[in-house]
C-alpha cells in the first residue's frame, strides 16, 4: 500500500471579538451570540456571505445544556450558507487549537475544502445548576405517573436541598482549583514572583504595542461597544504588579497574584482554513500553513506531574515527528494561563533530569529565545475565554508568520484542564 503525502492546510485569516472581563460588557451575551459575532466578522472580512463552507468546528468549555448544538446554531445565525455543517468539541482550554487540528486534518485529507475552527466561552452568562439532591428529586417528580406520586416526592424535598451551583474552575478529581494546582508546580520549579511579574508586564506592553501599530485591525471586530481587550493595561509595570497580594498557594512561598494569573473572561474567536485551491479560487491570500499538531496528557491525579505540564510532553513528540529542534522557530506562542505556567514549561525543557527521565530524551530540549515569545502579548493581557484562546493564537501567529515570510515557523503550546496539553506548528506562507 502506498500512502500519498496529504496536501497542505492553509490558514487564511481569523477574527475574534475583543475579550471582556467577567461581568463586563458581555455580561448578558450568550456563547451563541459571541460566537456568531466572531463568525460574522470573519465572513465579512473574507466576503463569505452565502458561502457553503466545508465545516465549522467550535465549542465552549462552560456550556448550557440548551447549547447542545452551539456551533450549528451560530452558523444558522450567521451569514454563511445554512448548508454549512458544524459541530462542537469540548477539550477544556485546548478546544480552539484542537478544532484547528481537526479542520486542518480534514482539509489535508481532501474531505473538505474549507472550514472554520474556533471557540467561545463566557464566564458571565454561566449555567446555573441546582444541588444534586434536588436535581434527583425533580427528575423523580418528572417520572411520577400520578399527581399523588408527584406530591409524595415533592414532600421529600428538604430545605437543605435548595441552593445553586455554577461551574467551578476546579479539578473534579483533586478538588483543587487550577491556580492551586499551578502554585504547586510553580513552587516545584522554583519560579519566582519577580519572573512571573516580569512576564505579565511584558504581556501587557506587547499587546498594547500590537494595538498601537494596528496589528489587530484585520484580526478583530468590535462587539457591544468594546474595541480592545478589556483586561489590557498598557501602563502595566513590574513595580505595579509587585504590589498585588498572592491569591494562589499559601504562606511565604506564594507567588501567584491576580496580576500574573489570567482573569475569567468572555469572548470568541474563529479561524478560516482552506485548501490552497479553495483559497486561490476565492482570491484569499494564504497567511500560513497548519503543519502539525499533537496532544499529550499527564497523570496529575496519582502521578506527581503538574496539572498544566502536558504541553511540555506534547512539544518534544511533535518536534521529533517533524524532525525539528526547539530552537527552529521564529515565534513561540505559549498560552499564559498563569505566568508561572509559561516559566515552568520553559524551565522543564531546559532541565536535564526532566528531559531525560520524564521525556525520555538524550539531552535537554534547551532554552528558547525569549524575544520570540508571545511577542504580541498573550492571555495575561488579552484575557482567556477558555475555548476562544486557541483561535486567538492561531490567527495572530499566522499573520505574524506571513509578515515574517515564507518558511518561517511558529510553535503553539496550550495547557488545558484535566492535565492535557495541545500544541501545534505553523509555517509562514
Amino acid at each position: 500500500m502506498t500512502t500519498a503525502s496529504p496536501r497542505r492546510a492553509a490558514i487564511l485569516g481569523g477574527n475574534r471579538i475583543p475579550f471582556a472581563r467577567q461581568f463586563g460588557p458581555y455580561a448578558k451575551a450568550s456563547n451563541q451570540d459571541m460566537f456568531t459575532a466572531a463568525l460574522e466578522g470573519l465572513v465579512a472580512r473574507y466576503g463569505l456571505a452565502g458561502e457553503r463552507l466545508g465545516e465549522v468546528v467550535g465549542g465552549a468549555v462552560i456550556k448550557h445544556s440548551r447549547d447542545f448544538n452551539l456551533t450549528r446554531e451560530a452558523v444558522l445565525g450567521s451569514s454563511l450558507a445554512p448548508e454549512t455543517t458544524a459541530f462542537d468539541v469540548q477539550q477544556a482550554c485546548g478546544t480552539g487549537l484542537e478544532n484547528a487540528i481537526l479542520v486542518s486534518n480534514k482539509i489535508k485529507l481532501g474531505q473538505i475544502e474549507s472550514g472554520i475552527a474556533g471557540g467561545v466561552d463566557t464566564a458571565s452568562d454561566a449555567p446555573i445548576m441546582v444541588t444534586e439532591k434536588l436535581r434527583q428529586k425533580l427528575l423523580k417528580i418528572n417520572r411520577a405517573k400520578s399527581t399523588v406520586d408527584m406530591a409524595k416526592v415533592a414532600l421529600e424535598i428538604r430545605p437543605g436541598d435548595f441552593g445553586v451551583e455554577t461551574p467551578a474552575n476546579t479539578e473534579p478529581r483533586t478538588g483543587l482549583s487550577m491556580g492551586e494546582h499551578m502554585a504547586i508546580t510553580a513552587k516545584k520549579w522554583g519560579i519566582t514572583r519577580e519572573a512571573q511579574d516580569e512576564l505579565a508586564a511584558l504581556s501587557h506592553q506587547n499587546l498594547a504595542a500590537a494595538y498601537d501599530r494596528g496589528f489587530f485591525d484585520d484580526l478583530m471586530t468590535s462587539y457591544l461597544g468594546l474595541a480592545k481587550d478589556q483586561n489590557l493595561r498598557p501602563d502595566s509595570t513590574v513595580e505595579k504588579l509587585a504590589k498585588l497580594k498572592p491569591v494562589f498557594g499559601k504562606g511565604e512561598g506564594a507567588t501567584m497574584t491576580a496580576g500574573n494569573s489570567t482573569p475569567l473572561t468572555d469572548g470568541a474567536s474563529a479561524v478560516l482554513l482552506g485548501s490552497e485551491e479553495w483559497a486561490a479560487a476565492h482570491n484569499i491570500p494564504v497567511q500560513a500553513y497548519f503543519v502539525d499538531g499533537e496532544v499529550a496528557a499527564v497523570d496529575y491525579v496519582h502521578g506527581d506531574e503538574g496539572l498544566l505540564m502536558a504541553p511540555a510532553y506534547a512539544v518534544p513528540r511533535l518536534l521529533a515527528r517533524q524532525g525539528l529542534s526547539l530552537q527552529d522557530f521564529d515565534y513561540y506562542e505559549i498560552h499564559e494561563a498563569f505566568a508561572s505556567t509559561v516559566l515552568s514549561t520553559m524551565k522543564a525543557w531546559e532541565d536535564e533530569e526532566f528531559c531525560t527521565q520524564r521525556l525520555g530524551l538524550e539531552k535537554p530540549l534547551g532554552s528558547i529565545d525569549r524575544s520570540k515569545l508571545n511577542v504580541n502579548g498573550s492571555s495575561l493581557a488579552a484575557g482567556h475565554p477558555f475555548a476562544a484562546t486557541g483561535g486567538r493564537i492561531v490567527a495572530s501567529l499566522a499573520k505574524m508568520l506571513h509578515e515574517k515570510g515564507p518558511g518561517s515557523r511558529g510553535l503553539i503550546s496550550i495547557c488545558a484542564a484535566g492535565g492535557q496539553g495541545v500544541v501545534a506548528i505553523l509555517e509562514g506562507a
Binding site: G41, A44, Y46, G47, G50, L224
Partner: protein
C-alpha cells in the same frame, strides 16, 4: 421620539391645522424602485430652433418605454426643454410658452429639465446673457413647484450631446428625488460612454470602495451601489468593526477595517481590492467627522482632526488609489452644504467640505485622471435625516427640514442615488461637478 413636522402634518389634527393655517405640507417624494418605469407618465419634450438635444431625449424616452407628449396642454409627469439653440434673451419666450402652461397640470413629483449650453462658450454677449438666464429661471421654477416636483438645468458643451442621456435619465427618475435647482455640466466624455445592459443594474460587475460605510449616509451608499449591481468593499474604523461586518455581510461584500487618516490607508485599500476583487472601479470618499465649536473657541486638535479625516486623508489616499483604480473608473467625494454656504460653529467642517469641492474640480481636470478616463465629482448633502441630524436641537432641526423647496429633509438614499449616478459608465461626460442633494435648500443657493 423626536417631533417631526412633516409627519405631524401628514394626517389627523396636524393635517387639519396645516391646511387651515396654510402651512406647507411635504409630499412623499417619488424614489427609485427596482423595475419601476423611468417616470410615471408622459414627458413633454420641446425645444427652441432646431433643438438637437430634444431629438436625443425623444429617442432615449422611447427606448425606456416612456411616451413623449408634444402639447403643453396635456397633463405630464415631466418637461424636457432643449434651449441649446437660443441666441438672445428674446428666445427665452420659448421656455415661458412651454413650461408655464405645463406647470399648471404637471403631475405630483413632476420634473422640469432645461437643457442649455454653458454661457462661457457663448459666441455673443447676448447669447451668454440668454444662456445664463436659464439657470435663474430654473431655480425660480424650483421654488414655484409644488407636490414634490424638481427643476434642474443641464448645460451641455458643444459636441458633447451624447453625454446628456445619463443626466436626463437620472433627473427624470426617482433617483433624483431630492435634487432640485442644480446645474449639471456635461462635457466631452473622458472615456467611452457605455450604457448598461440593464438600467436596473447600472453598476453590474463593478467593484466599489465606500469609506465610512457603517453609519447613516455611508451605509445607504453601500446599500444603493450594491442594489445597482456593484460589489462593495465597506471601509470603516476598527472601532466600528462589528457594525461594519453587518453592512458587508448584508451586501455580500467585504469589510476592510482601517483608519482613513493612517499613512498607508490608500495602499491597504488597493491591496485588499486587488487581492480580493481583482481591482476596483469606484471610490466613494464618504468618511467624515464633525467637531463643532465657534471659531473663537476651536482648539488646534478639533481643527486638525476634522481636516485630517475629511480632507487630508482623501488627498493622501488618492495618491495610492488613482494609479490603481481601473481605467474608466469613478471617484465621488462627499462635500456638504456647509462647504458651500458655511455654517455657524463649523469653520473646520466647512473648511474641509469646501476643500473637497476644490479638490474635486482640480482632480477632474488632472492630466493623469483624464487620461485614465476617470470622472471625479462631489455631492453636497443638505439636511438629510440621519442619526447625526436627529441630535440637532428641535428648532434648528425643523428649520433645516423645512427651509427648502420640498419642505422636508432628504433621506440618506437620496445622497446615495446621486453618488450612484456619478459612478455610471454611461455617465462619463459629467466630471468636476458638485451637485447638491438638498431639495433646493434656501441656504447658500
Amino acid at each position: 421620539m423626536a417631533f417631526n413636522y412633516g409627519q405631524f402634518v401628514s394626517g389627523g389634527v396636524g393635517k387639519q391645522l396645516a391646511t387651515t393655517l396654510g402651512l406647507p405640507r411635504p409630499t412623499k417624494l417619488r424614489r427609485h424602485k427596482l423595475g419601476a418605469s423611468l417616470v410615471p407618465g408622459e414627458v413633454l419634450v420641446a425645444g427652441h430652433g432646431d433643438a438637437p438635444v430634444a431629438e436625443r431625449v425623444r429617442h432615449l424616452l422611447s427606448e425606456a418605454g416612456v411616451k413623449v407628449a408634444t402639447s403643453p396642454s396635456t397633463s405630464v409627469a415631466g418637461v424636457v426643454l432643449d434651449l441649446t439653440a437660443i441666441e438672445t434673451p428674446a428666445d427665452l419666450e420659448t421656455l415661458r410658452g412651454v413650461v408655464g402652461p405645463a406647470l399648471k397640470t404637471l403631475a405630483p413629483t413632476g420634473r422640469v429639465i432645461v437643457i442649455g449650453r454653458p454661457p462661457e462658450s457663448a459666441t455673443s454677449v447676448a447669447q451668454a446673457a440668454a444662456r445664463r438666464a436659464v439657470e435663474g429661471i430654473v431655480r425660480s421654477i424650483g421654488k414655484e413647484m409644488r407636490g414634490g416636483g424638481t427643476a434642474n438645468t443641464v448645460l451641455v458643451a458643444e459636441g458633447a450631446d451624447a453625454g446628456v442621456d445619463a443626466t436626463v435619465r437620472f433627473l427624470l427618475s426617482g433617483r433624483s428625488a431630492y435634487v432640485s435647482a442644480q446645474v449639471f455640466h456635461v462635457a466631452k466624455p473622458v472615456a467611452d460612454i457605455a450604457a448598461p445592459a440593464d438600467w436596473d443594474l447600472p453598476l453590474a460587475g463593478k467593484v466599489a470602495v465606500v469609506t465610512g460605510a457603517v453609519r447613516g449616509i455611508g451605509a445607504a451608499i453601500a446599500d444603493t451601489l450594491a442594489r445597482d449591481g456593484a460589489t462593495i468593499i465597506a471601509v470603516d474604523v476598527p472601532q466600528a468593526g462589528g457594525p461594519l461586518a453587518e453592512v458587508a455581510n448584508r451586501l455580500g461584500g467585504t469589510a476592510l477595517q482601517l483608519d482613513v487618516t493612517a499613512e498607508d490607508a490608500g495602499a491597504k485599500i488597493v491591496e485588499h481590492a486587488k487581492a480580493r476583487h481583482g481591482g476596483f472601479d469606484i471610490v466613494v470618499h464618504n468618511a467624515g467627522i464633525t467637531r463643532d465649536k465657534l471659531l473663537a473657541n476651536t482648539e488646534a486638535d478639533r481643527w486638525d482632526s476634522v481636516l485630517q479625516v475629511n480632507l487630508l486623508s482623501i488627498l493622501r489616499m488618492n495618491e495610492a488609489l488613482i494609479p490603481a483604480i481601473n481605467d474608466g473608473g469613478h471617484i465621488v467625494n462627499v462635500s456638504s452644504i456647509a462647504g458651500i454656504a458655511g455654517n455657524r460653529g463649523q469653520t473646520n467642517y466647512a473648511a474641509s467640505k469646501a476643500g473637497v469641492i476644490g479638490m474635486t474640480q482640480s482632480l477632474a481636470a488632472d492630466k493623469t485622471v483624464v487620461k485614465k478616463g476617470i470622472t471625479v465629482n462631489a455631492v453636497a448633502p443638505g439636511f438629510i435625516e440621519t442619526e447625526m441630524t436627529a441630535k440637532v436641537p428641535f428648532a434648528t432641526r425643523e428649520v433645516g427640514r423645512l427651509m427648502n423647496s420640498l419642505s422636508q429633509g432628504g433621506q440618506p438614499v437620496d445622497v446615495a442615488e446621486t453618488i450612484g449616478f456619478f459612478a455610471w459608465d454611461a455617465n462619463r461626460g459629467v466630471t468636476g461637478n458638485v451637485v447638491r442633494v438638498c431639495g433646493q435648500m434656501l441656504m447658500g443657493a
